[in-house]
């Protein structure tokens, strides 16, 4: 195991902590995505996952010393905004047709 | 001096002064609107109604806080908190003056100079929508919900022309920090015309200034764009169900937003704390002259007062104004007070325009308001940005 930098409250932040935070947020996003029934909450868990990935991009961009990660993160944000707009329009249409927001009840498949 | 202690001192000063300015802005508004409407305004509480804000604060604090049933309690209490917080944070970013040296400490009259200051202010005004929307929704009241949603839709719609109107002078200033913006407007053309952005080549940003002020009216929900909170329309809109201190919080948030918009317009378009004409032509004596003239007016009115108690109060005001005029002549305080005076004068002028428009114009209907934003202001903002970019690139 590689030696960790000195952990103290007045020092620098170890780099791996950012990645672990990103993993925790991503896992919570996956949990929300799999365990919740409201469509909008599921969509918000997807946004949480995208945010976790953004954090990873920016952390590695710091480590590499280049700002390409920032630009990638910027594009992820733009795409997420466009996706949110269209996704919420779809959710509104689903609500208009099925009068419910639960993902288990909008299924028309048999069983 | 350690940075943290300096920042704390500046924060305390800014909070104290801005809170008083907020309270007395309400007094100024009531007096100005009253005089426009040929009446007098508050005059009983203290001389010329000067203690009216204090009376209002005491009234609002001691009023019964009525919480209707079936409100969503958490959001009902969270909404005014959010509105006030996001309205007051920009006070820490605005530069009120230049670099000063007080008791040997060299600092600037700004709590912190964020390098992306204008973007932060834009983001915070976008977050201010949450307070309004949550207030409308949490009140469990159809009129509040409609008022809240309309108001937030209006605020989001006018953020776009505002952002574009901000982007155009940024092309000429090449910086995002407030201090850099004011430094880019120092100096004078031909020795007497100030290099403010509204006068600066290659394209004087007059259209951007008007766009920003118009969008600022809509962002702060002021007349003529105040349909969502007008009292004879939607039963006071999103703050119908709020009483006492929470209503005071929304009120305070609206005035703080107004001051922020005026301050940003001053910094971005009118040159911050730089004087109107160079110091060698005597611009250092402008505040002295203005306050001296006010003292003269007070004394001349005290000779033949309209009301008997003015025989006592008006000379007191005259003496106070003379004291302030004298304070502007002392060289030690002059370096601190002069930039503050110019900044305050420009911001105060824009605030006066806000109040003047409120007293004069009728309000827009909601669909007219939204159509105005999307079909007129937004294309105009894009065209202005395009033209500015073209002229900057060609020069």
């Amino acid at each position: 195991m590689p030696p960790m930098p000195q952990l103290s409250l007045s020092g620098v932040v170890p780099f791996n902590w950012y990645l672990i935070l990103s993993v925790i947020l991503f896992a919570l996003g996956v949990a929300g995505f799999l365990f919740r029934r409201n469509i909008i909450t599921v969509f918000m868990s997807i946004e949480l996952m995208l945010n976790a990935v953004n954090l990873t991009f920016i952390a590695f961009s710091y480590k590499m010393g280049q700002n390409d990660g920032h630009i990638f993160s910027f594009f992820v944000m733009v795409v997420a905004a466009a996706e949110a707009a269209v996704g919420l329009a779809i959710i509104l249409t689903v609500f208009k047709n099925r009068q419910t927001l639960e993902i288990d009840e909008v299924s028309s498949l048999n069983n | 001096m350690p940075y943290l202690i300096l920042a704390l001192i500046k924060t305390v000063l800014v909070v104290a002064i801005i809170m008083h300015v907020l309270a007395y802005l309400q007094w100024v508004e009531r007096k100005v609107i009253a005089h426009v409407q040929l009446r007098v305004g508050p005059r009983r509480v203290g001389p010329h109604g000067l203690l009216q804000p204090l009376a209002d604060v005491i009234k609002l604090i001691t009023k019964e806080g009525l919480i209707p049933s079936h409100v969503h309690t958490v959001f009902y209490f969270l909404a005014p908190f959010l509105a006030v917080v996001f309205a007051l944070i920009p006070m820490a970013l605005i530069p009120y003056g230049g670099d000063i040296t007080v008791f040997g400490v060299h600092t600037s009259m700004q709590v912190t100079d964020v390098s992306v200051g204008i973007l932060l202010v834009l983001g915070l005004s976008g977050m201010g929508v949450y307070g309004v929307a949550l207030a409308g929704w949490a009140s469990n009241n159809k009129y509040s919900l409609m008022g809240g949603l309309r108001s937030s839709a209006q605020m989001i719609s006018y953020e776009l022309p505002m952002a574009m109107a901000i982007a155009a002078p940024l092309l000429m200033l090449n910086t995002l920090s407030f201090r850099g913006m004011v430094d880019g407007q120092a100096g004078f053309y031909f020795g007497f015309l100030p290099k403010w952005i509204v006068f600066q080549g290659p394209f004087p940003q007059v259209i951007s200034f008007l766009l920003f002020i118009t969008a600022g009216f809509a962002e702060t929900n002021r007349v003529p764009f105040d349909l969502p909170e007008a009292e004879n329309e939607l039963v006071a809109g999103f703050h119908t169900e709020y009483s006492s201190m929470q209503f005071a919080a929304f009120f305070m948030a609206e005035y703080a937003n107004m001051i922020t918009v005026s301050a940003i317009a001053t910094i971005l378009f009118l040159g911050g704390w730089h004087p109107l004409w160079p110091a060698e032509y005597g611009s250092k004596f402008v505040p002295t002259v203005i306050f001296g003239l006010s003292a003269l007016v007070c004394f001349s009115h005290a000779a033949s007062p309209a009301r008997p108690f003015d025989r006592i109060t008006l000379p007191v005001f005259g003496v106070i104004f003379l004291g302030i005029a004298g304070a502007f002549l002392v060289p030690v305080i002059q370096t601190v007070l002069l930039p503050l005076f110019w900044f305050g004068a420009k911001t105060g002028t824009i605030l006066f325009v806000f109040i003047w428009v409120r007293a004069t114009l009728p309000r827009f209907r909601y669909d007219q308001l939204m159509r105005f934003a999307w079909t007129f202001l937004f294309p105009l903002a894009i065209a202005n940005l395009f033209l500015t970019g073209l002229l900057v690139a060609l020069s």
């Binding site: 620098v12 780099f15 944000m77 905004a81 509104l92 | 390098s115 929307a133 949550l134």
Partner: protein, 166 residues
Amino acid sequence: MDVILFLLFAGVAVICAINLVLQTHPISSALSLVGVMGALALIYLQLGGEFIAMAQLIVYAGAVMVLFVFVIMLLNEGKERKMQRKLWVRWGGPPLLFVFVAIMATVVEHFLPPSEGVTFGAFTKGTAEAIGTKLFTVYLLPFEVTSVLILIAIVGAIVLARKEID
């Protein structure tokens, strides 16, 4: 000081994320997500990405989440009903998640080479000028493509959400 700030913002982010998953009313989840985004914007600031932090605040927390909040308020569905998942899902899910996090954390610790820590101010290429230069020279094509993408999204959203005029 950096460590205290990072722990504070990371704690806020994780607590808000847990709140998002556990709350029943979608509005509480939406506001918790706004809290996560705000905390993440401050963490980006610590990593030197000042432009990205402001973009996160303006675009994500100030526009996308407002859209979410609007839709939730308009649909007004209320709290979610209790989920009736099978017993093994309800009791086996959270431990599996914990195992996933543990595995990923171990991978991160073991396989990444040691690096010096993160200090605020060490990364200077995150300014608007640096990102703008790169965005308009090296990454110009993706920039133009994303503007077309936004146009497609606008047209799609309008078509999907309009009322049929009979």
